[in-house]
């Protein structure tokens, strides 16, 4: 199988610091075309793009968001690019921004024109210092070349918080407050940054926009799965020969991505489990990999497309140990706003610690299941709602990994 590149079309071909390089490969033509269109017609084009669905994880319709912000009456509107790529195992946005920052800025400027926003923000996570550098240079070049039109670009940077990747949390953080989520509705398209209508899209989504505008929604709709057209970028990590970032059409099969693009697992080993979509997504067993990677097929398979992270694990791993690591991650990242998440993630980590330290029992696994149902139903935001997903999925698929710790003492110390 081969890659199909849209968002990564210029990666490795142009100098990311050079605006002329980007223009030489057709850059900012989409923006020019967009600005010759009526904003309503432009939004319709994005809606028609086989319903371009967001690439950040939730798969929400991009055109619907733009339409929402467009039709909400307000004198001030904003565009925010979510470059707070904190999901473990995900490094596609970093790859896009480090190889082609202008395509993202072009997508943002097209959106700003469509909804009538005078200010656009790129919120880049604090860890991505190189991306911030490149984006600030790119925004300055756009300004000097007179390409920004009516919209001012602001490149701002986070300070180390996973939950800020959630869009309402990101807006709160952008406003200079603790990273805590807000109640939806109102959705950001009605009341977002500073309470004004705001479109929040992911880096990968914005990167696809210039090409869709330039080549048209009909062209885009012919690529990949017809219900979820276009491409998706996957980040392969774990026990795989060729780790890295791959962009494929959405009718690709998960197994082909792992075996053909990733080269399969190390010689002499075999796949035990695959975690798709990030830390809160369930595991798949090797026999479940013949699934198409579009949003709906993944969901039907009991997994999730999520951010596009693919963690491949071979038979050397103990799923109980990895579950404890996942639990600790969420306990560390819970913002503390709501009790079910703050206490629930803490208890998940504590119970799995007990399990790994000679105090494991079947009752504890039941307790984890109960916690999951409470947290899914009562946590304020997706962090808590999904924190126990992967753990319970591991318990379902690999009960023996948990049972073997019943009454056993763990020898190794951990950090």
């Amino acid at each position: 199988m081969e890659e199909t590149r849209i968002s990564l079309r210029d990666a490795g071909k142009i100098n990311p610091e050079c605006l002329d390089d980007y223009i030489a490969v057709g850059g900012y033509k989409g923006l020019e075309k967009a600005r010759s269109m009526d904003p309503a017609a432009l939004i319709e084009e994005i809606e028609n793009a086989g319903k371009l669905r967001g690439r950040g994880g939730a798969g929400f319709s991009t055109g619907f968001k733009w339409r929402g912000a467009f039709s909400t009456p307000s004198d001030v509107k904003y565009v925010v690019c979510n470059a707070d790529e904190g999901e473990p195992g995900t490094f596609k946005d970093r790859t896009i921004l480090e190889s082609d920052p202008h395509t993202v800025l072009e997508g943002i400027l097209i959106c700003a024109y469509a909804i009538g926003a005078r200010d656009a923000f790129v919120y880049v996570r604090g860890e991505y210092t190189r991306c911030v550098e490149l984006l600030r240079k790119a925004a300055k070049d756009v300004e000097e070349r007179g390409l920004r039109g009516e919209t001012k670009l602001h490149i701002v940077s986070g300070a180390g918080s996973y939950v800020c990747g959630e869009e309402t949390t990101l807006l709160t953080s952008l406003e200079g407050y603790r990273g805590e989520p807000r109640l939806k509705p109102p959705f950001p398209t009605v009341a977002g940054y500073l309470g004004k209508p705001t479109v929040v899209n992911n880096v990968e989504t914005f990167a696809a926009v210039p090409v869709i505008v330039e080549k048209g929604s009909k062209w885009f709709s012919t690529i990949g799965n017809e219900k979820f057209p276009g491409t998706k970028i996957f980040c392969l990590s774990g026990d795989i020969k060729k780790r890295g970032v791959y962009e494929v059409a959405t009718d690709a099969k998960l197994r082909d991505i792992i075996d053909e693009l990733g080269g399969g697992v190390r010689d002499g080993h075999h796949i035990k489990a695959v975690q798709m979509g990030g830390g809160s997504c369930g595991f798949l067993k090797p026999e479940q990999l013949d699934v198409q990677i579009d949003f709906d097929s993944m969901r039907a398979a009991g997994s999730s497309l999520g951010s596009g992270a693919i963690l491949v694990l071979d038979e050397t791993h103990d799923m109980a140990e990895l579950s404890r690591s996942i639990a600790r991650f969420f306990a560390g990242e819970s913002c503390g706003k709501c009790v079910p998440c703050r206490e629930g993630t803490f208890r998940l980590a504590e119970i799995l610690d007990e399990l790994m330290n000679n105090r494991g029992s079947a009752e504890q696994l039941t307790l984890i299941r109960n916690l999951k149902s409470v947290m899914t139903g009562s946590c304020f935001c997706p962090l808590g709602q999904g924190a126990a997903n992967a753990i319970v999925s591991a318990m379902d698929l690999f009960p023996e990994d948990f049972e073997k710790h019943f009454g056993k003492r763990e020898e190794k110390r951990h950090v």
Binding site: E127, H154, G158, Y162, L174, V245
Partner: protein, 141 residues
């Protein structure tokens, strides 16, 4: 040392509090109560509100840091790639040294080179126990 107004002007008026706090921290090493009061005044906010923000984020420090700060990513990807062996080797190497601090950091978005560590703000890929020992010795225990 630059004052807050100069640092804010250098940021080109992006106006985002986190960027300003990070710039102040880069200049001073950490964020003192006086720094937070000054930033709060510049933003027209109460000092306690800025403190609330500053105390939330992992990359902001409200007290002087040790000379060497070694950070391990807390994600399952680094765990699966052998972070624990690396972390244990690091702990043994720096045992009792007053110059070192080990803490957890966010995923560095470099899972293709896991396990990753961050030493004093710089990310180091594909860590092994041998490599981390060499890195620590080079920085000095």
């Amino acid at each position: 040392m630059k004052n807050i107004e100069t640092l804010m002007a250098e940021l080109g008026g992006s106006g985002c509090l986190l960027d300003v706090l990070k710039a102040v921290q880069a200049e001073r090493g950490y964020l003192s109560d006086d720094d937070l009061r000054a930033v709060a005044a510049a933003f027209g906010r109460e000092a306690n509100s800025v403190y609330e923000t500053a105390s939330f984020y992992g990359m902001l420090s409200l007290a002087p840091e040790k000379k060497n700060v070694l950070e391990f990513c807390g994600s399952v990807n680094c765990e699966a790639a052998g972070r624990r062996d690396v972390a244990e080797a690091a702990e043994r190497e720096i045992a009792g040294s007053p110059l070192w601090e080990i803490k957890r950091c966010e995923c560095q978005g470099r899972c293709d080179t896991a396990p990753n560590v961050v030493l004093n703000g710089t990310a180091y890929p594909s860590m092994t126990p041998e490599k981390i020992r060499a890195l620590i010795r080079k920085a000095g225990v």
